[in-house]
Subunit: 195 residues, 2 copies
DNA sequence: GTCTATAGAATGATAGAC
DNA sequence: GTCTATCATTCTATAGAC
């Protein structure tokens, strides 16, 4: 409970103040509805209930808000990643990590798609050094020691399948618990075919 | 070859003129780089090499351009879908459709993510009647007669896995042929687990 | 930490000439 | 089919008062 309300951000950046956390939280909701480009500072300010100038006092640019938002979301993965890195690099460690990834993806459903596919965030993940390193670390853990083309494609498919399925129109009627159970089941099935 | 250059749009709408086709093609490239909201009419006009007013003469609104663009892309799926609907509703028909979907996804890599995840297009697919019906038809074909929750999640994962994998950072170094072969292989493997 | 007020550029969209 | 010119609106961002 307190972990969800914690304002600390990941990847060694300065923790957020209460006012900053309010802005980032509101921004995230708008980003998932309209995308980053489709969200103006005015919309964010209105959602928080302050003026644009107040938002600019907390973040110098719109990009700074996006960075803080991505940091906040990736921070949720960091704990799971730490545990995975500590518990070796075998198949069982990968499955434990996958379960936590699924938990996060189901719990934050609508957020995941934005994080994975918004063009602005994609560019940020590719160009911003700390994000680059974090994603490399994440994929390394998901690969569990392997690195052949088939293994890489398998991880790419798995990450996309989980992230995409949780918001897919065919699945919107699933409650979280059912979605979680079924996702774990089908994910395991996909991994069983592994050579 | 002539099929790729054909300006005809799907879903019963008016075919596009040459000028309109030029605009929609340029718009699609920009949409995949910046998203729909991140693409202005000025950017589209510049890419085509005309003024904004010339673009407005061809399409009354920006939304009309987006609709035409989505129609053009979904049109590529329509042929495969017709064949699938004609060849029954068994497991083999689904596998044939899947192969064609993979071919399309690999061939148009960067486009797929935009179509599946851009918030403006997502809203359009959900609210625009002809798109709604087309997507329903597509999912029905992919389900191959089934409709239980597990089957729906399986299709959701499959569609997301294919659409997401083709642009995934872990797979950017794959050439089209390799990506196609491996995707078909892993997709079949995923389906073999089916009960 | 928030406000009012504003600068300066870019946005979607229209009118009318060629 | 394309142009120039312009509309009202919105955008990011800043200055300065409280």
């Amino acid at each position: 409970m307190s972990a969800t309300e914690d304002a600390a951000t990941a990847m060694g950046s300065t923790p957020l103040s209460v006012a900053q956390t309010r802005i980032v939280t509101a921004a995230l909701t708008l980003f998932e509805q309209h995308g980053v480009s489709g969200t103006s500072l005015q919309m964010i300010a209105d959602a928080v209930g302050v003026t644009k100038a107040a938002v600019y006092h907390q973040f110098r640019t719109k990009e700074a808000i996006v960075v803080a938002a991505v940091e906040m979301e990736l921070g949720r993965l960091e704990e799971a990643l730490d545990a995975a890195d500590a518990s070796g690099r075998d198949q069982r460690a990968v499955e434990t990590l996958l379960t936590q990834v699924i938990d996060l993806a189901v719990g934050r459903r609508r957020m995941v798609s934005t994080l994975q596919h918004d063009p602005v965030i994609a560019r940020l993940l590719a160009e911003h050094k700390p994000f680059q390193q974090f994603m490399e670390r994440f994929f390394r853990a998901m690969l569990g020691g392997k690195n052949d083309p088939t293994a890489r494609l398998r991880v790419a498919m798995l990450a996309s399948a989980i992230g995409g399925a949780v918001t897919h129109p065919l699945v919107t009627d699933f409650d979280d618990a059912t979605l979680r159970t079924e996702l774990i089941h089908l994910t395991r099935q996909f991994l069983e075919g592994e050579s």
